[in-house]
Amino acid sequence: MRWVTRMDDGLAFSRPGWLWVGQLALVVLGTHRGAERLAGYLARWLAMLPAPWPDPDLPLTLAAVSATGIELCLGLFAIGWLAVCTRQPSVGHQAWLRQASIRAFTVPIYWAATTLAGTWTVALGAADLVGGTSTMLPAFIAVVVLWRVGLPGCLKMARQLPPAPRTKGLVLAPALLLVSGLALRHGLPVWGWL
């Protein structure tokens, strides 16, 4: 048992060095849920244009390429936000309000929405892997993943984004909010329960 304890201690000690990878992967999973729906909407919109498409699949391809581009861009930005957060101290409520920018609102919203959608994807994937038939298993896994990995990432984004000019994040805000909304709407099963 001793080596298990040692390994546990070692991993716990080095946690700040690798936990961010899991937080980023959760966001990537959730972003893909939103981007996939965005691709569908883009394809419909493109197919409705009165353009004489030379190939009926062209609107689908264009939509997929656009959504992939948005997804990759958001992935790069997510890495950047994680990097800048790591160097920042955590700020309190008052200080946060004083230095709040558009980015300070939109990035935590995006991070939380995609983390939730990603967590549910992981929970159901894990429950399927285990092969259990319990209803509670995905919910239990989701809570554990959220508590151990997702929530610390969301809090980091809310508390540790560095101060910026008020309008910082204006350009990216529509994409962030759109993908957040789509990830929440289509990445979680709760809407069917309401």
């Binding site: 390994m7 690798w18 899991g22 999973l29 394809a43 197919a47 390429v65 994807t121 159901l124 038939t133």
Partner: protein, 318 residues
């Protein structure tokens, strides 16, 4: 595990495996790591991770030419719909080719059609687990797709939308009957046009069938009357919900003989055509919606040519 290091590492590892296998960013990350390690692999197909909504593929699938259904236990329209869906957007992952997928469904077809289609699309184990979860949560009909999909991982649910809901919706569309039996001609097609009364470029979301006022209008498919209404644009109109996200609408009616909530059979008379609303002459505006988006109904028009897409419509309405 006093400090949870092993637990957190296990969780992160699991998340990474899922993200690497099911997202473009993850695939690119794996490819990049392999490249750094000197392992040469072709660049991953990033756009291949998008399954889209069912509708985009179905719209293309509606327009494919019909091949006569072979001797098969599957209902004709469903077989054609399944074949079109797997041809346009790929077979289930446990089948290597579209042909093998269609043959697989023929082999596994049984009386519980929903279950047969779900197992074919997603695999028996996945469906059983999700149904069990739904059953435990108190669902009275756990194998119904809308119930089952809540208990599936998001990417599996999306795959099911494509392969379970998609063929059902497409089969419903392919079986639509033409709403007018009397001789008529198409006075305005689907798509962009100069609006006859407004003179501006507008998208015409249905097809106009020129018929005299009072011509009987028939239900294109069985379903529930969703709306019976009247407004300044569409005049008096009826909307029928045919399930599987398929709706038809009949506008500019002179009278509607049905009420909202009523069930109608395919080919049942639902009203009489007219000239109500914004209209330049007596006609029926017929509209088909699939997954919330309109389709061009013209390819569904029955023709003498048995290879046309209208060939599957079954018997004409009475």
């Amino acid at each position: 595990m006093r400090r949870g290091g092993l637990l957190d590492a296990g969780i992160v590892l699991g998340i990474l495996v899922l993200a690497a296998g099911s997202t473009p960013v993850g695939a690119l990350g794996v490819w990049g790591i392999d490249a750094l390690r000197g392992v040469e692999r072709p660049m991953p197909q990033l756009v291949g991770f998008f399954s889209f909504s069912t509708r985009s593929h179905l719209t293309a699938a509606v327009l494919l030419p019909v091949r006569a259904p072979s001797d098969s236990p599957l209902p004709g329209a469903l077989e054609v719909a399944v074949e079109r869906v797997v041809r346009t957007s790929g077979p289930p992952q446990h089948y290597s080719t579209p042909e093998a997928a269609v043959e697989g469904l023929r082999q596994s077809w049984h009386e519980d059609h929903d279950l047969a289609l779900e197992r074919w699309a997603l695999g028996r184990d996945v469906v059983e687990r999700a149904a069990s979860r739904a059953r435990s949560a108190g669902s009275s009909d756990p194998t119904r797709w809308v119930e089952l999909r809540r208990w599936l991982p998001a990417h599996t649910a999306a795959e099911g939308d494509r392969l379970v809901q998609g063929p059902r919706a497409l089969a419903t569309v392919l079986e639509l009957a033409w709403p007018i039996q009397a001789p008529h001609h198409v006075t305005s097609g689907y798509g962009w046009r100069i609006h006859p009364t407004l003179g501006t470029k507008r998208f015409h979301n249905g097809i106009d069938l020129g018929v005299p006022i009072g011509t009987t209008v028939f239900a294109a498919q069985s379903g529930r009357i969703a709306v019976v209404g009247e407004n300044a644009v569409s005049g008096r109109f009826v909307v029928i919900d045919h399930d599987h996200d398929v709706r038809t609408a009949y506008c500019h009616l002179d009278q509607a003989n049905v009420t909202a909530g009523e069930h109608v059979e395919r080919g049942a008379p639902i009203g009489a055509s007219g000239n109500s609303g914004r209209s330049t002459g007596p006609h029926l505006h017929f509209m088909v919606r699939l997954a919330g988006e309109t389709l061009d109904p013209h390819p569904l028009r029955p023709e003498d040519d048995q290879t046309s897409p209208g060939a599957l419509h079954g018997p004409p309405v009475p």
